[in-house]
Amino acid sequence: MIIQEPDTKGYYGPYGGAYIPEMLHRNVEELQANYLEIINDNGFQEDFINLLHNYVGRPTPLFPAKNLSSRFKTKIYLKREDLCHTGAHKLNNVVGQILLAKRLKKKHIIAETGAGQHGVATATVCALMGLRCTVFMGSKDIQRQQPNVLRMKMLGAEVIAATSGNQTLKDAINEAIRYWINHSDETHYVIGSTIGPHPYPDMVARFQSVISSEIRKQLLEKEGRETPDYVVACVGGGSNAAGAFYHFISDSQVKLIGVEAAGEGVGSSNTAATIAIGTEGIIHGCRTLLMQTPDGQTKEAHSISAGLDYPGIGPLHAYLHQSQRASYYAITDEEALNAAFDLALSEGIIPALESAHALALLPKIAFRPHDIVVVNLSGRGDKDLAIYQEYFSHDNHDK
């Protein structure tokens, strides 16, 4: 049976593990040895649930999207993670990890960020808890995501530009890891997705699993059944999808669909569709699928959405793909942009470009009228307005 938890060494089938240099061993081992005990502690759960409820704004609504449903002749629900404080699901994981870091007596929090959502979430919780916060962000992303850089600074975080490599998310992660090696005392690295060495993929998936646990309860109220027919979510590193799939993984009748960013097309050189074109290897301390050259050098990813612009994929997803428990599709930049405008006009919700990839899948599947389809709307689109505006002015959207 396919289960959502890795083995004790952090493997989901052949994927996962902790491929780290000795300099990181102490910190990673400290997490491996303590994370489950801390997370399962009653006091921790009380604090976590309390903050999710009163600070993050959970539970988020499960919204029956009637206009979309009638268009696609099926029953579509949107899980409104875009309504979380700071505008995306990212905060669920950050609250959990920072509560955990406090229990490990860490004083300084570091994080990487691509689009800036995870950086903002981390800066937010650090401000709340009175912890020092340093966020690494690729120089290119700093240029294209200025509003989020300003938000982080207003929240008291220090933003450090990653100037190595392609100066995007992958390089921000490299810089964060190097900083962690050089400041291993008292520093906790809050990874923002289900990637990295064990226990990060499992830890992040557990904190995000609140999404699927709420969907079950909400569906029971609305439909008299706990499980939908489909769960659809976008996948970069895979944290919102991991959270949305988590409590359905062992219900084999629920079809799980992950949507990657095809960029300019899966066959083009500008893509982030790791599952479509990736091969097995190691990236950021984890054995998984990644986009790489035959020589094992990581390729640069491309997606219009900075949050999906990652050349790897969380090991849980590599495993769900390999075992055929979930299926993965790729959506182009263009298709995602169109889906974002469609949702804005049909339901009055401006989605994040990342989440728009999940929405763009809807026309591609032959749903039946009585199917229940849950789309995880992982974030809101405010951060993407500049891109939407550019598209709007260039294109034929003067409807």
Partner: protein, 265 residues
């Protein structure tokens, strides 16, 4: 045939100097001239760095040389053919050092076979987990007579050091402080205490110390407290400033030799 690393430690009791360089930098074909220059100038051992796109444990110098080496077109296949050509000329041990992924893509078993064929004596892969070496990959290194060298840091627990000593076959690479490569610092009492602690553990493998060794003071401290020292970034920094391999290497060693002479003669 006896492994050259074993031979080195049998023949030389102290002040062993190992130099790391990134293969493919400054030019794709610099590998052979660098190896020749290092041996001529008195290096006891050479670590040949396999460039990787995401060198997590490396500071700015090795990041830069790795990126340039990759732009120059360096790959494991090219490196092996360069090493094969120079094989007969090299008398000191060569060690390949790199990250696991390029080696995995090449195929570990084939990598070990080819490395051994072109005269390599040992391998360092800092992100290969100990237990995977023990249960999966160790046999390929052993059957090809390659020493496998593990890293330890001041944070590595005594039990883990003993476990690593048990698995290591060439020497132990003691990282001077928990940091990325090339971070220049002075040896503090903490590091001296750490190296003393290692000596008192009477490990079966000799200990070389690396990371941050860049001047008279740090080399003195390394030689005084371990069997030898490993220098990487400090040498590569000179090659970044001036890419004439022979002159740069000679000047670099002259500086190091004056250190060694004033210490021990």
């Amino acid at each position: 045939m006896i492994n050259k690393i074993t031979q080195l430690f049998e023949n030389k009791g102290k002040d062993i100097l190992s130099i790391f360089f990134t293969a493919g930098f400054p030019e794709l074909n610099s590998t052979q001239s660098i190896i020749r220059a290092l041996e001529e100038n008195g290096a006891d051992m050479i670590e040949v760095g396999i460039p990787y796109s995401d060198p997590l444990a490396d500071g700015p110098v090795i990041q830069k040389t790795s990126a340039m080496a990759l732009r120059n077109g360096m790959s494991i296949t090219t490196l092996f053919s360069q090493l094969t050509e120079i094989k007969k000329e090299v008398h000191i041990p060569l060690i390949l050092m790199g990250y696991l992924n390029p080696v995995l893509q090449y195929g570990i078993e084939n990598f070990c076979r080819q490395a051994s064929r072109c005269g390599v004596s040992g391998v360092i892969l800092p992100d290969l987990p100990i237990d995977e070496y023990e249960t999966i990959y160790g046999k390929y290194f052993e059957s090809n007579h390659l020493k496998f060298i593990f890293l330890i840091t001041p944070d590595t627990s005594t039990n883990r050091i003993l476990q690593i000593d048990n698995l290591s076959t060439g020497f132990i690479y003691a990282v001077s402080s928990t940091s990325t490569t090339g971070k220049e610092f002075c040896f503090s009492p903490v590091q001296i205490e750490y190296l003393n602690r290692l000596r008192e553990m009477k490990l079966k493998n000799p200990v070389l110390v690396g990371f941050g060794i860049h001047n008279h003071e740090t080399l003195t401290a390394a030689f005084g407290n371990a069997r030898g020292a490993i220098i990487g970034s400090a040498y590569l920094k000179c090659l970044i400033e001036d890419n004439k391999v022979e002159t740069v290497t000679r000047k670099f060693f002259n500086r190091l030799k004056s250190t060694i002479i004033c210490l021990y003669n």
